[in-house]
Amino acid sequence: MTINIILAIFVTSLATYLSRFLGVISSEKIKENSKIFRWFNCLAYSTLASLIARIVIFPAGVLSEIDYLIRFIVIGISLLIYYFTKRNLVYPTVFSAIILSILSTYY
């Protein structure tokens, strides 16, 4: 098992570094004001948004035990806090953890 874990860690880090490494190779030839850069910029933001939406809507692990509605409410309130605190990021994140822990205890 121990050898498996070490190998799994190596394989995981290799698979992760691969995308970063290929990204740097491609970046050598891409100018920041080129069309292809603008396209990749859109792709990066949209892929991140897809990933986060997926984590919230189809979560793996403990989050899947929380009702959809509660997840949406927590995200919605956190975004409101973010706006009302003039884009402070600490308040909404701390708040989200506390409110979800409380909600999951009582529902």
């Binding site: 860690i9 949209s46 997926r54 809507i57 989200s96």
Partner: protein, 234 residues
């Protein structure tokens, strides 16, 4: 070699009101606890965050080990879930490239590309002298990476005291942080459309293919957003 003034300016990004430290810490505390429950030793857990430093990838590795997947399957699953790092790198590194800087800095520091550091660099690069952007980036990366490693250790050691409700609380912090950061980044029509369409299409494509949904959804949403942006400019 590395300009220390810019390095420390970058490093200090984890202080202050837009700090990613709490969100990043919360999710790696959860990873530390998860790895402990999977039977990892503390060294292996540290090693894992040290070498991979990408949250969804570590989660996929943990799930795969749990079901006894082969190494090839782990490689493919992790590559798929972390492939988003490719467009992230391509949309960041050209902003940091400078001819006077040695290449190795770029190939080593690309290890730090993860959502939190990336979002900070994207929002701050214009205020940094181009020549030293890479040093500033290495500073941010070192700081966020250290937070992740220390948090993994804390999570590992605290796992016995973390009950399920607390783990659920930790799990929501990261998506909330990223959601706020992405909404905050919506300053141009292209980025706004990318974020909104990505949020809608990612989950929709999940019904077609759970594994490929992020890449399909992201690719379609980003490409539509790009063309709408181009049409507006012409």
């Amino acid at each position: 070699m590395i300009n220390s003034e810019y390095f420390f300016r970058g490093f200090k990004s984890i202080k202050g009101l837009d700090s990613p430290a709490f969100a990043l810490g919360a999710s790696f505390v959860a990873i530390g606890a998860l790895l402990k429950n999977l039977g990892f030793s503390i060294q292996e857990s540290i090693f894992s965050t040290f070498l991979t430093y990408a949250l969804p990838g570590s989660l996929v590795m943990a799930e795969s080990l749990l079901v006894g997947a082969s190494l090839v399957n782990i490689f493919l699953a992790v590559w798929l879930v972390n492939a988003r790092l490719y467009p992230m790198t391509v949309s960041l590194m050209p902003l940091l490239m400078d001819k006077s800087q040695p290449r190795w800095k770029y190939y080593i520091s690309c290890h730090f590309i993860a959502v939190s550091a990336w979002l900070i660099m994207k929002s701050k690069h214009q205020s940094i002298n181009r020549k030293y952007r890479i040093d500033f980036w290495i500073g941010i990366g070192t700081a966020t990476w250290s937070v992740a490693i220390v948090s993994t250790v804390i999570g590992y050691l605290a796992s016995d005291y973390l009950n399920k409700d607390m783990m659920i609380g930790l799990a929501i912090v990261n998506p909330v942080y990223f959601m706020c950061m992405l909404v905050g980044a919506m300053k141009t029509i292209e980025v706004s459309l990318s974020v909104i369409l990505g949020t809608i299409l990612g989950p929709l494509f999940y019904f077609l293919s759970p594994e490929w949904s992020i890449l399909y959804g992201g690719f379609t949403a980003g490409t539509i957003a790009y063309f709408i942006g181009e049409l507006r400019d012409n």
